[in-house]
């Protein structure tokens, strides 16, 4: 069970047996820390319940299609855990920036392309019934090809960054999990001896 706990989703600090003793003693300060330690929830319009000790993941963002995560900051976060959380926050922010910008550019350029093609054909953006005029897939093919080649270098750079981020975060998660597992084993041993 504890093994499953350390491998659980998210880098959040789970209810550790050692911590439970201390947290009950300093529950007041713990709660205050919890209340204050979810700064990212402010921008996202959602606050996880105060008793929750895990990360929360939200619906996909309208622009980037990525799901934002509100990270839990435990009252006794180790340096390693903080590094992990900060890495994840940084990765989330940079991915959000990239995809929001990229998708917005796609939508904009697509609109411009449709407009220019329709104008060339002598049509309006909206036809008689008020429906937005669209081009069929074959006509859009030129745009897709163009857009892909224009953004090729950008994607190469992003791929490199993404792979680096992903490996780094997963490696940190592994380290955190290992440290927690060892801590739990040591605590178990101490309890058994007592």
């Amino acid at each position: 069970m504890a093994a499953a706990r350390v491998l659980r989703a998210g880098g959040c600090y789970r209810r550790h047996p050692l911590a439970s003793a201390s947290s009950s003693a300093s529950s007041g300060s713990g709660r205050a820390a919890e209340r204050g330690e979810r700064p990212d929830s402010v921008g996202l319009g959602f606050r996880p319940p105060a008793h929750s000790h895990s990360d929360w993941i939200g619906p996909p963002d309208k622009l980037s299609n990525l799901r934002p995560v509100i990270f839990y900051v435990p009252p006794e976060e180790s340096a390693l855990e903080r590094r992990l959380r900060e890495a994840r926050q940084e990765a989330q922010a940079s991915n959000q920036r990239f995809w929001a910008r990229h998708n917005r550019a796609f939508r904009q350029e697509k609109e411009e392309f449709i407009y220019s093609r329709l104008k060339a054909k002598g049509l309006e953006m909206r036809d008689e019934s008020g429906q937005k005029a669209t081009l069929n897939a074959e006509e859009m093919a030129d745009f897709y090809k163009d857009f892909l080649s224009k953004n090729f270098k950008k994607h190469l750079q992003y791929n490199r960054d993404w792979y680096k981020q992903n490996f780094r975060i997963t490696f940190l998660m592994g380290q955190v999990a290992l440290v927690r597992a060892l801590r739990w084993l040591r605590w178990r041993k101490k309890n058994v001896e007592q």
């Binding site: 491998l7 659980r8 996880p48 939200g58 619906p59 995560v69 090809k145 892909l148 190469l156 791929n159």
Partner: protein, 454 residues
């Protein structure tokens, strides 16, 4: 799900195949082929997945084609390349990367009724949620806490279990076609090892593609995208499937099969997956990934890489192209926005030419089969109609280059491969026949020797 039903299940034909199977003697074809043929032939299909998963229904609307699954690189590339093309996996079944469904306008309600490729191993729903409930659920914030109850379903989706199954069935086809007496334990070990390798490769593929999957409709419900599982757990799962899988193949079957399995995992995760975003060469690499599983099945049975293994691999390799190219034709917008380098976007003419070329190559390969004594000469004769039909659709796709021709070709490829493999198996040259011929030959040699001696 009240999509219009317009299926014309060829139940009679299915019955015919089943009857034929029963009469071929002790050797049993995995009945999946029949099942898949039946499934593939229906426009609207619902079928139950494996028992340990909750009931899942895959329905396919008439209009939009769902996604392709990519065969797992590790295991066999499933024949349902498109379905499995989503992520090419080693599996014989060529997974097709999930392609977002072609949709003109989405309403929230209709988003639930996403059509899925029947063979798409991409996403499976845990349960059929009526109406727009799924999208509502989607809009809620969820705690990132692993629920142990959900874990089997999550791991099934992570490993693309349907695609894995198709890949394993392609490996079984390779095993079945090998000209050696059938050994059940070897067959089971090879299938299990291939399945585990496929799960591993698929999981790693999903691990690598999280932000890209989020941006494509077909793949946006994957476990890692939704945060149902952590990347660490995904990697651990992949390792705990891949290492025993390859070990099983190497130690329990033979080292050659194990090496092929490991190579396929590598090819799929480290070559195909990154290459998808760098160059159109990924399609050819993916086709190899799909071709390796039947080769693995053959080497598992015989222990050596014969011409027959390469022929079977060649058939799967050629099949990938009409399958994937036709599917990718409808996903050009998502590929373009997601940054995937696919022929359908960058070199549309080449895309169609290659599809047609390989449809014709299938005819040629079917003729080579009896030349290599894998099948009798009835095989090219019987398979000619279906090969000609897919070539015809390939030609239509080449000429018309529109959505309807691409979809027709894709759907044809779904039933074409299982049918081809089935016919191949039924026309398999019996091992006994060969032995008899050998004995006769030997005897005549002896006689000749006797005469020559004074």
């Amino acid at each position: 799900m009240s999509a219009a039903r317009s299926c014309r299940p060829p139940r009679a034909l299915t019955g015919l195949f089943v009857w034929h199977l029963r009469n071929t003697g002790a050797r049993q074809i995995p009945c999946r082929f029949v099942h898949f043929y039946h499934v593939a032939s229906n426009r609207l299909i619902t079928f139950q997945y494996f028992n340990f998963l909750k009931r899942m229904y895959v329905t396919q609307c008439n209009k939009d084609l769902s996604q392709r699954a990519k065969p797992k690189s590790d295991s066999i590339v499933s024949p349902f390349h498109e379905l499995q093309q989503l992520d090419q996996e080693k599996k014989v079944v060529h997974k097709i990367s999930s392609v977002s469904p072609i949709h003109q306008s989405w309403s929230e309600m209709s988003s639930r009724n996403e059509l899925r490729e029947m063979k798409s191993a991409a996403e499976t729903e845990d349960s059929v949620i009526p109406g727009g409930a799924e999208s509502k659920e989607d809009r809620q914030w969820k705690e990132m806490k692993l629920q142990l109850d959900d874990l089997p379903g999550i791991l099934a989706r992570l490993s693309k279990i349907r695609l894995t199954a198709l890949v394993v069935s392609t490996a079984s086809a390779g095993f079945a076609m090998a000209p050696v007496p059938f050994e059940l334990t070897c067959f089971m070990l090879a299938s299990l090892g291939t399945g585990l390798a496929s799960c591993a490769a698929n999981s790693i593929n999903q691990f690598f593609e999280v932000p890209f999957d989020s941006n494509m409709n077909r793949t946006k419900n994957r476990p890692l995208v939704r945060g149902q599982i952590s990347p660490l757990l995904a990697v651990c799962f992949a390792a705990s499937c891949g290492i025993p899988g390859i070990a099983l193949l190497t130690l329990g079957v033979n080292p050659l099969t194990g090496a092929l399995g490991a190579f396929n995992i590598f090819l799929y995760t480290c070559c195909y997956t990154p290459l998808k975003r760098m160059s159109i060469a990924n399609t050819w690499v993916g086709a190899v990934v799909g071709a390796i599983p039947p080769v693995m099945g053959w080497t598992a049975a015989t222990g050596s890489l014969d011409a027959g293994a390469l022929l079977l691999g060649g058939i799967l390799y050629s099949w990938q192209f009409p399958h994937f190219n036709a599917l990718s034709w409808g996903l050009r917008e998502d590929y373009s926005r997601g940054g995937y380098c696919m022929m359908s976007v960058t070199h549309p003419g080449l895309c169609r030419r290659v599809a047609l070329r390989h449809c014709l190559a299938l005819i040629g390969l079917s003729v080579v089969a009896p030349v290599l004594s894998i099948t009798t000469w009835t095989f090219p004769v019987i398979s000619l109609p279906i090969n000609l039909y897919i070539s015809y659709l390939g030609f239509r796709f080449y000429r018309d280059a529109d959505r309807s021709s691409s979809r027709k070709l894709f759907f044809c490829s779904l039933w074409h491969l299982p049918m081809l493999l089935l016919v191949m198996f039924t026309c398999k040259k019996s091992v006994l026949e060969k032995e008899d011929k050998g004995k006769l030959h030997g005897r005549s040699n002896e006689m000749a020797v006797e005469i020559r001696l004074p």
